[in-house]
């Protein structure tokens, strides 16, 4: 199998400043100052072409940070990410400009994503067709309903046609018909042999759509393997966690948090 994504020892540290003065101290002192929080700690995994990988984990475990790193939006603090081809992130926040019309936003967004003139002219009708918002395409985005906004945003990002797709909670947009349309598009990508990373809190959607699962637990990889093997264990963990008393839960959280904080 051909590898498409190789993530090796990736860590992402965020500085935690108690005061603004600490920020300045950190900037000027050569070794750095203050405490850091490991959003991700020593993550390593590989993905093959055509894999559909669901990233699971509870809130605050670093799923979104990981997806941003794979998509190349934020750099890792240490470690390396090797991507064969283009990666793109599809997220809910669409980043559209309110004052401009839908059509103008399509060009703007495509420009930002590095397309040239010819490609944009080619893509625009396809995007408009997929978004399916009728005459509103020539109206300013501020007049759109939230559904229309996310449809347009999603339509744009899905037409970028990348080799590696990272979908962060994006399927929860729009009504059922639009969600189905999106799922169809995803399946199309799947058949084309693209690697897809899928983040969702809907376990049923995960089970239906993904073959592999990457369980991220408090900044590190807890398990990585077939969905049918990992998911039961994840569900078991959730169950166990739910059963804990309030005190136990708190102690558990505190423990985890402490282990992720280091000096400088």
């Amino acid at each position: 199998m051909e590898k498409s994504v190789i993530v090796k020892n990736v860590s992402k540290k965020y500085k935690m400043y108690a005061k603004n003065s600490e920020k300045i101290l950190d900037l000027i002192s050569p070794k750095g100052y203050g405490k850091s929080f490991y959003a991700l700690h020593d993550i390593s995994f590989e993905a093959n072409k055509g894999d559909v990988i669901g990233i699971i984990g509870v809130n605050g475990s670093g799923k979104s940070t990981l997806s941003n790193i794979i998509a190349g939006i934020i750099p890792p603090t240490s470690g390396s990410v090797e991507i064969k081809g283009e990666a793109a992130l599809i997220a809910i926040q669409s980043g559209l400009k309110k004052e401009l019309t839908g059509r103008e936003n399509i060009e703007l967004k495509c420009l930002m994503l590095g397309f040239d003139k010819k490609q944009i002219i080619e893509l625009t009708p396809q995007i408009i067709d997929f978004a399916d918002i009728g005459d509103f395409i020539d109206q300013p985005v501020k007049t759109y309903s939230s559904g229309m906004r996310s449809r347009l945003g999603f339509a744009i990002s899905i037409h970028i046609d990348p080799d590696i797709l990272v979908i962060d909670e994006a399927l929860s947009v729009g009504d059922q018909t639009f969600a189905d349309k999106c799922l169809d598009k995803m399946n199309e990508f799947k058949e084309k042999g693209k690697t897809i990373f899928f983040i969702s809190h809907s376990i049923s959607q995960m089970k239906k759509f993904c073959e592999k699962a990457l369980w991220v637990q408090y900044g590190h990889v807890e398990q990585y393997g077939l969905m049918s093997e990992v998911m039961p264990e994840y569900e078991a963990f959730i169950k166990k966690y739910k059963k804990m008393t309030k005190k136990e839960k708190k102690a558990f959280q505190e423990n985890v948090r402490k282990s992720r904080i280091v000096n400088a």
């Binding site: 190349g72 750099p75 992130l89 980043g95 401009l100 060009e107 003139k117």
Partner: protein
């Protein structure tokens, strides 16, 4: 040196991108107003009227103002031919400084040519500058200062202004992204420089006011000084400013070059981590 070269090459490659994005910038800034683009002209006009009223009429500047080469002009003519530089430089510096941190969320890719962001923000202001300059040239045709051969200096000074703004914005946009306070400092600094550059008063006044000679030397270090005097010489047909003051021209370009080298260096050094500073 290497980083400056890299930044310039990136500009060349993203020329189409810069042009399109600047047009959208212009559009999204003005579509909300009923008068739309007219505000680009109305705003400076109101300011000019006020300055003319206060400094020209109330403070009684009815005598003529020396431009360069013994050419003299009435206060209002002298004022409009120079203050258009301010109307270009001020918003460009302020917007250029916050260009990166205010837009980085909108950029969905790390390999986006980040150095194009200040450029398209400046280019958007440049369109407005062209419009205002055009209007000023038309107005000047109704005075004794008609179009002359000296006008061919104008494109040179426009280019000089663009080069100056771009280099400065590379530095300020980087530092404002890392430490937001830099932007606030810049706003105060610009407010100060407005009064320390001969926009409202002519340099000859300094000697009249009995200020020491070195004070004027210090003021000359401000590159905006060079630009405003250059614009006046071109628009009012006073002199070949860049050649007559060749030493000053050398200083100006030296300033731009050093700023560009430094700006490119810090820009490239920090740009991969701009998102971390949000």
């Amino acid at each position: 040196m290497k980083s400056a070269w890299k930044v310039i090459r990136e500009q060349m490659k993203s020329l189409y991108l810069i042009r399109r994005l600047s047009l959208y910038e212009l559009k999204s800034e003005n579509t909300n107003n009923y008068l739309g683009m007219a505000w680009v002209v109305i705003n400076p006009l109101i300011q000019i009227l006020i300055y003319w009223l206060v400094f020209g009429e109330i403070l009684g500047r009815s005598s003529k103002i020396p431009v360069d080469n013994a050419v003299e002009a009435p206060y209002i003519v002298w004022l409009i031919s120079g203050i258009i530089v301010w109307f270009f430089v001020q918003p460009s510096i302020i917007q250029g400084s916050k260009s990166i941190y205010s837009r980085i969320r909108f950029i969905a890719k790390m390999n986006f040519p980040m150095s194009a962001i200040p450029s398209y923000v400046i280019l958007e202001k440049f369109y407005q500058h062209l419009m205002i300059t055009g209007i000023v040239i038309v107005i000047l045709q109704f005075t004794e200062f008609k179009i002359s051969i000296y006008m061919i200096q104008l494109p040179y000074f426009m280019f000089a202004a663009l080069a100056f703004l771009f280099s400065v914005s590379l530095v300020t946009s980087t530092f404002s992204t890392i430490v937001r306070d830099v932007h606030q400092v810049l706003i105060s600094l610009m407010r100060m420089l407005f009064y320390l550059t001969p926009f409202l008063w002519e340099p000859a006044r300094l000697a009249d006011a009995g200020l020491p000679d070195f004070f004027q030397k210090v003021l000359l270090m401000n590159p905006m000084y060079y630009l405003v005097q250059g614009y006046r010489s071109a628009l009012l047909g006073a002199s070949w400013y860049g050649i007559d003051h060749i030493g000053y021209t050398a200083y100006f370009w030296g300033f731009v070059l050093v700023t560009l080298l430094f700006g490119s260096f810090v820009h490239l050094k920090f740009r991969d981590h701009f998102v971390d500073y949000l």
